[in-house]
């Protein structure tokens, strides 16, 4: 076996301050960045500009409004030439219909989460 038991520890990021999710009720930052603060969806292409939809979660009203926008955009779906479903907003072909599955960070379809 190539490696010794402790020889390949990761060391170079130790200068980052590590805040642990608090369990004592006080506010703290999570060590895990989440996608809660943004919903972004684009097709990666060197020729295309990316389209970003930023969604603030500062208050529920804004969130609701943003969700409505996203839904109405997602509802504008075209049929491609071969009859494949094409998401008008993102250009994704044959992808999942409806709201973006990863909009809250996990992968969900119709309410059931299958990856997180």
């Amino acid at each position: 076996m190539a490696k010794t038991s402790l020889s390949r520890l990761f060391a170079s990021l130790s200068e980052h301050s590590i805040a642990k999710p608090s369990f004592t009720g006080s506010r703290s930052e999570s060590v895990t960045r989440s996608a809660y603060n943004s919903v972004t969806r684009f097709v990666c292409s060197s020729a295309q500009e990316t389209q970003l939809i930023r969604e603030e979660r500062s208050n529920e009203g804004d969130r609701e409004a943003a969700k409505e926008n996203l839904e109405s955009v997602n509802k504008e779906e075209d049929e491609g030439e071969d009859g494949d479903h094409v998401n008008k907003e993102t250009g994704e072909v044959s992808g999942p219909k409806g709201p973006e599955p990863t909009r809250y960070g996990d992968w969900e379809r119709n309410g059931r989460c299958s990856d997180f």
């Binding site: 076996m1 009720g25 996608a35 097709v43 990666c44 292409s45 992968w107 309410g111 997180f116």
Partner: protein, 575 residues
């Protein structure tokens, strides 16, 4: 009377359920150099790969970078990741995905023909490749097709792996194959193989509520531990906070759900509120972000409430939202609940955390090698150092793909240097099917084993859940020890012998082994990091930023679950 079968192959790949991504990928490569046996406990559609329906992550966009993927992985892993493993996976991932596409896996793309990439929690770029809802299944379909068409690969379905066949050569342990039980014919089959790869997945069923299929009983981890392989980081068990809790449904499902129905974070994101069974909203007590706190915080909070209040589930209420919205966003949840008498537009949803993924496992080097010569590991069964203390979303399929590929050349080289042949097959006692016990005794044993499994799961959930403490872990250790002793005594009092095998008993033995590994690992880490939270060590300790390593114990003492069935021969220069 079935004859004793021994097969000689170059490679033996053990997969507990389904030949998932790791096993299939490896098989296809090594089959170019010799015969391969893939042994699988069930039917080829049951693995955790199949349930990995979200996507697989890789750097496939010019504006993304390997460094960024590495950084995201390391942050998610609470800085416990192995830097070299992270670099290797993030660097080689894109090529592994491209190979899958070349093999015919069909991923969603944009109308300009480029891959469509989604973005999941913890990722700072869009890098999740997916096939609508069924990425895992799509990858597997493409690989299975190639495997079926390969004349050098034989798939042995319904073959349950019992123990690795190993020998001692000085201080080295060497693996020479696997004993398996054909659960359809009740025949023991011995596979002599120059190289063995374990791609056997996770051990979710040490807990009562898990997303894993029934076959995920930690077989590979247990076999490897019994074979003197080093195990690492078993304390890092990933739970999802909100699985549908069947106990809280008005109409209980007719039979126990095999794998949990996870309620998406989107329910909380859309305004769902968490209550305990006294209808007290508890999240604000734990975090200022309340229900919008990170998933791991929510999981701990729910766990704490359940343990403090001795309750079985909490409630997630979205019924205050407009009915049409609920039904259009969450029809899956609505339908599932309605079938069991619950209307989520009127009532709260009962939820409980479910065990999902084991970040730890058999300690592997950068080639998937273990400390047992001739034994390689890939996928969830392995601990490569990629995940550290917490897995980043969609990295697990990627890990499986990369490490399975990396194990190929080293194991081909190892195979070529091996002079192992079928004459080795007589070195180990054959496992014995318990026909002599008679059906009455077997029924009793099966019934007791089923109860013992539930009891073990209950202990694990109660004492080795999401929020831990030294005293609770020690209590778990004691209770598990007593339970195991009680079970083994029962078996042996009823005529069970050391070398006897039956599916349920062997699974139980593996569950005990994995449960004890989780408890030992958890007791060893005197800090809280990532998925491992201890109330008596609630902070991160820089000095403890090291993997937890469990070395094998003596194989001459210990319980039935911690020893191989057979006596390990000491043979010089078998390889």
């Amino acid at each position: 009377m079935p004859t004793k079968r021994t097969l000689m192959v170059m490679w033996c790949i053990q997969v507990s359920a389904d030949p998932g991504v790791a096993g299939l990928r490896y098989a296809l490569e090594v089959a170019k150099h010799g015969s391969v046996a893939i042994i699988t406990k069930a039917e080829p559609h049951e693995s955790n790969t199949n349930y990995a329906q979200g996507g697989v992550s890789a750097v496939l966009c010019p504006s993304d970078s390997v460094e960024s993927h590495m950084q995201d992985t390391i942050v998610a892993g609470a800085y416990l990741c192995d830097e070299e493993s992270v670099k290797v996976v993030c660097t080689e991932g894109p090529d592994r995905i491209r190979e899958l596409i070349a093999m015919g896996a069909s991923f969603d793309h944009g109308d300009d023909g480029n891959l469509h990439l989604a973005r999941e929690g913890g990722h700072s770029h869009h890098r999740i490749v997916h096939a609508a809802d069924m990425t895992g299944r799509e990858i597997e379909r493409a690989l299975l097709e190639a495997v079926v068409n390969d004349p050098n690969i034989s798939v042995f379905k319904h073959h349950f792996a019992i123990d690795l066949l190993t020998s001692q050569d000085g201080s080295d342990t060497v693996c020479h194959g696997i004993d398996a039980l054909n659960t359809e014919t009740q025949e023991v089959v011995r596979f002599i193989s120059k190289v063995t790869l374990l791609a056997s997945g996770g051990a979710g069923h040490i807990y009562p509520s898990t997303t894993n299929p029934l076959v995920a009983t930690g077989d590979g981890m247990a076999m490897a531990h019994r074979a003197q392989a080093v195990i690492s980081n078993m304390e890092f068990v990933q739970f999802h906070p909100t699985a549908l809790a069947d106990e809280g449904l008005p109409i209980k499902p007719k039979k126990t759900r095999e794998n949990s129905f996870l309620i998406t974070e989107a329910v909380r994101g859309d305004g769902g509120i968490l209550y305990n069974l006294s209808m007290e909203r508890f999240m604000p007590l734990y975090d200022g972000r309340a229900e919008l706190a990170p998933r791991d915080v929510v999981a701990r909070s729910i766990d704490d409430q359940l343990k403090k209040r001795n309750e079985k589930y909490v409630l997630l209420d979205i019924s205050h939202k407009p009915r049409e919205k609920i039904l259009s966003h969450f029809p899956n949840i609505a339908n599932e609940c309605l079938q069991h008498g619950l209307d989520i537009t009127q009532q709260p949803i009962p939820v409980v955390p479910a065990a999902h993924y084991m970040c730890g496992g058999v300690r592997a080097g950068l080639q998937g090698e273990t400390n047992v010569h001739g034994l390689y590991v890939a996928g969830e069964v392995a601990c490569t150092g990629l995940h550290g203390a917490n897995r980043l979303a969609s990295n697990s399929l990627l890990e499986a793909l990369v490490f399975a590929r990396r194990a190929v050349q080293p194991s081909i080289n190892y195979m070529k240097s091996s002079s192992l042949d079928l004459s080795a097959s007589s070195l180990w006692t054959r496992p014995l099917v318990p026909k002599s016990l008679g059906s009455d005794v077997m029924h009793k044993i099966l019934r007791i084993t089923k109860e013992v499994r539930k009891e073990l799961q209950s202990i694990m959930w109660k004492y080795v859940g999401i929020v831990r403490s030294t005293s609770r872990l020690q209590e778990a250790e004691q209770k598990i020890g007593k339970l195991e002793a009680k079970w083994e005594t029962y078996l042996f009092e009823h005529g069970w012998q050391q070398t006897m095998v039956a599916l349920e008993a062997c699974e139980m033995r593996n569950l005990f082994c994995c449960a004890k590994l989780v408890v030992s690992s958890a007791l060893a880490r005197h800090e809280s990091r990532g998925l491992h939270y201890m109330t008596d060590f609630p902070h991160l300790e820089e000095s403890k930023r090291l993997p937890t390593v469990i070395f094998p114990s003596s194989h001459t003492t210990g319980t039935w679950s911690s020893r191989q069935l057979h006596q390990q021969p000491i043979v010089k220069s078998m390889v």
